[in-house]
Amino acid sequence: MARLNRRVAEWILSTIGEGVLVADLAEKIVFANDAAAAILKTPKTALIGQCLRNLPDFATQELTFETIERAVERPGERRVQTARIAGKALVLNCRYVVESKCLVITIRDITDLVKTSERVEAVLASTADGLLVLDEAGRTTHLNRAAETILNVTERDALGKTVGELHIREELADVLAGDEGLFKSEQRTEEEATVDEETEKYLKIVTTPVFDRQNTFLGHIKMLRDVTAEKRVERMKNEFISTVSHELRTPLTSIKGYVDLMLEGDAGDIGDIQRDFLKIVKQNSDRLVGLINDLLDLSRIESGRVQLRKDPVNLDEAIDDVLVTSRTLAEEKKQVITLVKPESLPIVIGDSDRITQVLMNLLSNAIKYTPEEGTIGITAVADKRFVKISVSDTGIGISPIDQVKLFEKFYRVDNSLTREVGGTGLGLSIVKTLVRMHGGDIWVESEAGKGSTFTFTLPAVGKVSLKSKEEPGTEEELPGAGRTVLVVDDEPDIVRLVQLQLDKDGYRVLTALSGEEALDIAKRERPDIITLDILMEGINGFEVIRRLDEDPETTSIPVIIVSIICDEEQCYSFGGASYLTKPIDREKLSLTVKRLIEKRDKERQVFILVIDDENGITGLIEEAFQTKEYAVYPARSVDEAISVGSTIKPNVIVLDAKMAAGDSHRIIERLRTCGGMSEAQIIMFTEYDAEKLADRMVVTDGDDRCSVASVDAIARKIDEVLEKAGVRGEQD
């Protein structure tokens, strides 16, 4: 290399940002560039000739001299250290160059970098919420002060460890670790956990995945917030509401009771004006009762005391039910209700009572706000992911401002119509909460003078519908064909009435005029369903249910309580499957009997869960099992399989070996440990050579795998496995 002219070399050194000092072996500075002068805040001329040890700030840096000495001891090796000189954070780079017998020290100013990182550290440390940062493998990279306090773990102990390795309560660790399936999920998740049962410390945990600009997954940030105080306030609020509502009922009972007595003429004659005024009192006390009921309902929902049942819900039936119930209301106002929907909607998972409540609320609102002889429309559509149901009225419409606030608690659009219609201002708030709890959403579209449309969505489980409809070619068949109903009542007139209606539907009807007779026939004939009166001489209805329940041969027969004294609460507390009040509504009777029989069929159905990302095989399996006794559910991923499977509790799981990606043991373990699937038979299929795969697969007890050339093979395997597990044996 050509020797550089000394001046050129100096010029080059003056242009670079890093400070450069050259000192001789006596540590006397022989060269300094501009950057060094700037960093050390000393003119270049003052630096040259100075001894390193005499530099004001260098002098206090013990480490610096150690570095210099080491560099001299090991020539050619670079020594690096950080130092704080003249208020700056510096990186010193020191090397002894033997050939020229001099020390070359470069100085990089990283003050800004350090400041930024210190600021980030300070922000993290002083954040009131606990922060736990995990890398892509789930190891702790950061734990701020608040998190240290909340988890009672020091950052030093936690660094590099996974959540499971920290010394924290197992339950909390489970929540913190999250679902392994969601590990690289792009979704933000929110969970709650108890930190300490004694102190009832509650924690809200928000997990957010971190991606860099290249969209590489870097890990998760978990925000931990102590919500103990909020929880306590919430609990107090709910207790308060519950107490207040009880206390309000007492004076209301007097108000309502005496007003009713007067209005019904039980307290002597009253004049027209008095009647009018009393009606106003009555309407308002009724409104107050409605408000209390809604308030209690809302408080129970919000406090999480309302647990949604998670069953497959048939929306076609839910819509039918709501239409039947509200028909009278609409007829009173001479309104027409139109229904537009595909023949069968996909199944959703949820609480059918609550979904019906949502539909009922929207439909009764529509009826209330639509003028006489107006039209109300229900529209339902579905795609792969959601079912969308709209209820539209032809009322006065809702202004854009009101649309925004409509779903808030106690918000009521103020106009003469809403005052006339009445209501609590809580209905839509309850509806929204319920829809959200089901993982759906609700919104309103409206045009002044034309009407409003309320639309809500519910996540669909899959494209396959429960096969409750009759097989093709049997459309003419009546719902009761081949089914037997036992009608029990001690009044022959009522027996005759019920029999008449059920005969029309094609059921085989047996009758009993006493509890004794009913038990006798039930045991002998094993009807599909029983309708039962409660107040009977001798053995009464409740006793009949109890005895039916005790006998294993009759315990599974659903009972519809048909009584003058029954309501929903009573019916279920006595073990009835459903109830009807007298006088009997024929259509309701028909519908209830049909529904319960269908429900029973479904309970006996064999559920097959197919996990396959290509969906090709799902369709073929569906075709092979296209009878009423089977229901096929597709899942396109293992995560989806887990969410669907834990609800439907499949009897058989069919898994594409490709989905297992060589790690079938782990996937089978995951499926097994999820609620509802521990008993399922797992069949793994592959289109490849089974022999080769067998080496890589670990198959747990009771599982089967097969190499398939055709769907028939899978179908045969499913039958085989079911028979072995004794599931098919119980079919009729």
């Binding site: 519950s242 009880h246 206390e247 009922r249 007492t250 209301l252 009972t253 007097s254 108000i255 309502k256 009771g257 005496y258 009713d260 007595l261 019904e264 039980d266 006390s285 009762v289 009921n293 209690l296 107040l535 001489e537 003058i564 004294i565 609460e569 009573q570 507390s573 006595f574």
Partner: protein, 128 residues
């Protein structure tokens, strides 16, 4: 009807007690009103009743406890609860302590008359 049907009502709220008494007396029942559960149990010793109506929240002895005692003392005597406690668990509790009917407050007097009437008809029919 040879003798009047006797109904025992336990209700600590005077206004409501009077409302129930008035409503039922207009139907021709003989109504005996007491102010708490213990008083209801005591009253049973003094004379036979055809039906007992119990409020739930009462001093001295609440309606649930009274219902339990009454079913022990006189099995088969129909008990009807009449309460502002209207939540499902509370209603279920009412049935579990032996009530045949649970009426939630506020109630319509006609509803009370109908429900009481049905139970009276059935139990009378059984005795005849």
């Amino acid at each position: 009807m040879a003798s009047k049907i006797r109904i025992l009502v336990a209700e600590d709220e005077q206004d409501i007690g009077r409302l129930v008494k008035y409503t039922l007396e207009r139907q021709g029942y003989d109504v005996h009103l007491v102010g708490d559960g213990q008083a209801a149990v005591d009253a049973l010793e003094r004379g036979p009743f055809d039906l007992v109506l119990l409020d739930v929240m009462m001093p001295v002895m609440d309606g649930y406890a009274a219902a339990g005692k009454i079913s022990d003392l006189e099995p088969g005597l129909p008990i009807v609860m009449l309460s502002a406690k209207a939540q499902k668990v509370e209603v279920e509790k009412g049935y579990s302590v032996g009530a045949l009917e649970y009426i939630c407050k506020p109630f319509n007097p006609r509803e009370l008359v109908e429900k009481v009437g049905v139970i009276i008809d059935r139990t009378r029919g059984r005795k005849d």
